[in-house]
Symmetry: C2
Subunit: 214 residues, 2 copies
DNA sequence: CCGGACCCTAAGCGCTCGCTCACCCCGGAG
DNA sequence: CTCCGGGGTGAGCGAGCGCTTAGGGTCCGG
């Protein structure tokens, strides 16, 4: 009863920082971070539980004190990652400003997150199929909410006349796809910072939806 | 000496059709097609050689008559797939017309291929890391040539004044990224045909690079 | 009839996987 | 000191992996 649970209470008013800050037993967090790195580098199926444990400085058996299975690690990573990504999008949707401003902010912050946390994002976005049938629907639902958030802004812009978008669902898919794929190609040793990529992509997306002649 | 090598000589003047048409022993082609499906559905590391063989209607051992290892299958798929994709881009680059026409054609045909052959494209684009150190450089080199092809068209358009692109390398990455990610989300049972997605994406890309005010 | 080249299979080798279990170390209460 | 419980470990389990090998069916020229 002394050092046990301070899980709740801190709130999550921050959305852009280290995602694993409030994973509570210290050893469990180290294992989670190790799993993110391993999954991002080698893929879920090519990663062994022995590899995860040794990255966290533990024996292979220690993993099973904190997680029931290897898939539970992937599920927890996917859940937290999608929550963070969705929170970023929702904040942009619910902010004040024109549709163009909100769309630019959504793309900028979403891309910044995918670049800055490209290891996490890679696992979150590309290892969804590695989840079993039992766990996948929960994550797919989160993803659909991200889709709806972007479509919401684009629809607003079309209705207000700011945007000229012949195919709203198709353009929504394209915008999200563009942002998500950042996690695949972004390299921390490359020349661009996450901020720069975010600014570039926000500009490109605004061009995609802008009314052609005013 | 009788039926051995007729590999070369047929030429590859066709770029948009079934990619495995000229894989010569019939059993080897069936195994390759089975491997593409399995890798696309489950990923390379989650696919067993027993699964590939049984999809091709053979025993597990039959695979090793035609291929030395499981990775050789992935390498062959990657090589053929990248060759086809690059050929499509090169044809657009070397065609006649304005930069805008060539860029639109490049995106349209590249996207059409990624949608129409999304299983192959998924393996080609997303399983590159599963190749060992020995084989990866060859495929990476092919990918760089695709990158250079798109950059070439965009540079032409900037120099001729057709395009207004502040960041040519960044925009090149974005365009390719947009096209490639089609392989991830495209669903054959969905509402859109590969042609429709190609047309939509060509339009979106032209908007991204178009001179804002003329 | 034979004999062998060509494909393919049944069986299984050696290995590593995800995961388990019996035990140990160590700080705090009595 | 003893006792105890929770986080950790060493060793190893059954299973399934990539891949190999000995041999069988079939079609050929003789």
């Amino acid at each position: 009863m002394t050092q046990d649970e301070r899980v709740e209470g801190v709130g999550d008013e921050v959305t852009d920082e280290m995602p694993w800050a409030d994973v509570t037993p210290d050893a469990a967090r180290r294992l989670l971070v190790a799993a993110v790195q391993a999954f991002a580098e080698r893929g879920y199926h090519a990663t062994t539980t022995r590899d995860i444990a040794s990255r966290a400085g533990m024996s292979p058996a220690a993993l099973y004190i904190h997680y029931k299975t290897k898939e539970e690690l992937l599920l927890k990573i996917s859940r937290i990652g999608h929550d963070k990504a969705l929170a970023i999008l929702r904040r942009a949707v619910e902010s004040d400003g024109t549709a163009a401003e909100r769309l630019a902010e959504a793309v900028r912050s979403f891309v910044r997150w995918h670049a800055g946390h490209h290891m996490t994002a890679r696992v979150v976005q590309y290892e969804l199929d590695s989840l079993g049938e039992a766990n996948r629907p929960e994550i797919v639902a989160l993803r659909r909410r991200s889709d709806a958030s972007v479509r919401e802004i684009i629809n607003d812009g079309v209705e207000s006349g700011e945007f000229d978008v012949p195919d709203v669902p198709g353009t929504t898919v394209a915008v999200l796809s563009l942002c998500i794929d950042v996690a695949r190609w972004f390299n921390a040793e490359g020349k661009r910072t996450p901020d720069e990529v975010g600014a570039l992509y926000a500009d490109l997306v605004l061009r995609m939806v802008a009314a052609q002649k005013q």
